[in-house]
């Protein structure tokens, strides 16, 4: 039975990994062809990301947008999470739900709304429009992680600090903030990875002038395949694994995803 179980779990992971094994393989091809197993071994397609201006430009756009928009998402999420934690009134709950909404809906709807919005007020085709759109769209992730982090704080710590004469600001800075900090970083990392990978909003808001890596890949797919796409796919997959490993390393990932708190195991 245990054998059967392990076999099934392994099969699913093989299914999950299969496309990336092939893509990693083709990204090492020596000539500009997609052949697996690869003919020869070359890392030049990874170099193309730095040497070819249009790929480098797309990578730069992706990184700038991901960094700024996830910072924006965290800066929006923190006050809402704090307000909900401190107050828990109707307004706080409404704000929280509003923060969850962008993520519940099919992104194509949000994308079209933002396209029409930016076309109407001007700003369509600008980098800042993509940054703001991503920041608002991804606010859900830090909002969920930070709220979860605040719930784990033992209020008696706060009471103790207050009794000892600390001001509200000091309590926040020296007690609450350090306790939720790992959750803030997790939320930031989640948002960063998702912004990097997001296609439809970036495409509709500014895709024709601000090319990100996913947009660049889909645009180049129309003119044929190059191993550079494989290189990007591999780098993206590795980045995701790395970021989530770090989150798991510094936080309790199962609990973050809804398992009961860690007990003596």
């Amino acid at each position: 039975m245990k054998l059967l179980r392990n076999l099934f779990v392994t099969m699913i992971f093989v299914f999950m990994a299969a496309p990336f094994v092939v893509v990693a393989g083709v990204s090492f091809n020596e000539r500009k062809r997609l052949i697996f197993p690869p003919e020869g071994f070359s890392l030049s397609w990874y170099g193309a990301l730095w040497t070819e201006a249009d790929w480098f430009n797309a990578m730069q756009n992706s990184l700038v947008i991901a960094l700024l928009s996830s910072l924006l998402a965290v800066s929006l999420a923190l006050p809402i999470a704090l307000y909900l934690w401190q107050r828990g009134n109707v307004l706080a709950k409404a704000l929280f739900s509003l923060g969850l909404a962008p993520f519940m809906l099919p992104p194509v709807i949000t994308a079209l709304g933002l396209l029409i919005f930016w076309v109407t007020i001007g700003g369509s085709g600008q980098l800042y429009a993509t940054v703001i759109s991503h920041g608002v769209f991804l606010v859900t992730l830090p909002l969920v992680t930070i709220s979860l982090g605040l719930q784990t704080i033992n209020v008696q710590f706060l009471e103790a600090a207050r009794v000892m004469g600390a001001t509200e600001r000091t309590v926040f800075r020296t007690v609450s903030l350090p306790l939720v900090f790992p959750y803030i970083v997790s939320g930031f990392a989640f948002a960063f990875v998702l912004s990097l990978n997001e296609y439809i909003i970036a495409y509709m808001v500014a895709g024709f002038t601000v090319e990100t890596l996913p947009i660049k890949i889909l645009n180049s797919l129309r003119y044929g395949y190059t191993p550079t796409m494989g290189a990007v796919a591999v780098l993206f997959a590795l980045t995701s694994v790395l970021v989530f490993s770090l989150i798991a390393r510094f936080g309790d990932l199962p609990r973050l995803l809804g398992a009961p708190a860690r007990d003596a195991e």
Binding site: V9, I80, I217, V241
Partner: protein, 292 residues
């Protein structure tokens, strides 16, 4: 614990009196307003060569009711239903097995699932099209195993789109099922095992019935999730496999018909909200022995 809650209230009341104006401003201006504008535009009149002019007409919604678009709607719904059933059927036993593993093994599994889940649909579409291609795809493996005469390409095709959608939604389904399954009281299946039921029988007669509500929620959420897929049908399918989401993008960008695209998006929004409402009703009436 009552005193704990009271303490929390009294401690927290003393702090934070500010309504978070800055995030409220952002969410209202860049999320609520765009939706309102989109709703308005869905009633506007399309102007050839320009974008649109203000009007109040139902033409965009009526246009949706011709056989072509109704066919697309029917196709999208059937495709998403198929993907939801397959993904849930794979994800449920898989998640159950993961939650019975050690915490360390669970973390590894979750990291990999999150990594796949966060990947761009563009990258997943490209990767699968490579895996299903003639030159570098899986058919080469079948040839070397002697199962096939010569390599062939398995895409573009409807089954390629379906495989891609299932691939996309298995990690999502796992993460939806993970909380209820990891909170399932381990004593219940154990009791069944002690009474002499086989693991298979325990799974089918104890675990699945206990979790029928989370399973229903997962089916609906995966359905909504795949209904929003927009690049996989393009990269892995023929134009006949294009879904509603693809046509929304097509109308908005390539046909420059924003009012019609908006009307289709509003329609998709209504379907989605109805589905989410059903799910939250399922969650509210929590089943008897489900969690604790």
């Amino acid at each position: 614990m009552r005193s704990g809650v009271a303490l929390k209230r009294s401690v927290l009341r003393k702090s934070g009196k500010l309504i978070p104006l800055y995030p409220t401003f952002f969410l209202v201006v860049f999320f609520l307003v765009p939706f309102t504008v989109m709703l308005a535009v869905s009633f506007f009149h399309r102007v050839e060569g320009a974008f649109f002019e203000p009007a109040f007409e139902f033409d965009n919604y009526l246009r949706f009711f011709d056989p072509f678009y109704l066919g697309i709607l029917q196709f999208s719904i059937l495709l998403s239903m198929a993907a939801a059933v397959l993904a849930t059927a794979i994800a449920f036993p898989f998640t159950y097995m993961i939650t019975r593993m050690s915490r360390k093994a669970q973390v590894v599994a979750l990291v990999l699932l999150l990594a796949v889940l966060s990947l761009s649909e563009v990258i997943i579409g490209f990767s699968w099209s490579t895996l299903l291609s003639r030159t570098s795809g899986i058919s080469n493996l079948f040839v070397s195993l002697g199962l096939l005469e010569k390599p062939t390409s398995y895409y573009p095709s409807l089954s390629a789109v379906l495989i891609g959608l299932v691939y996309l939604s298995v990690p999502y389904a796992v993460l939806v099922l993970y909380p209820p399954l990891s909170r399932l009281d381990p004593e219940l299946p154990e009791a069944a095992r002690m009474m002499g039921a086989s693991p298979m029988r325990t799974f089918f007669t104890i675990v699945i019935p206990l979790l029928r509500r989370p399973i229903m929620s997962t089916l609906i959420l995966v359905f909504v999730f795949t209904l929003g897929a927009y690049t996989l049908p393009q990269t892995l399918g023929k134009p006949s496999s294009w879904t509603l989401s693809v046509h929304i993008t097509d109308q908005a960008i390539f046909q420059a018909n924003l009012p019609f695209a908006a009307a289709m998006a509003i329609f998709l929004l209504v379907v989605t909200l109805a589905m989410i409402a059903v799910t939250s009703m399922l969650d509210k009436t929590k089943s008897e022995g489900d969690t604790k």
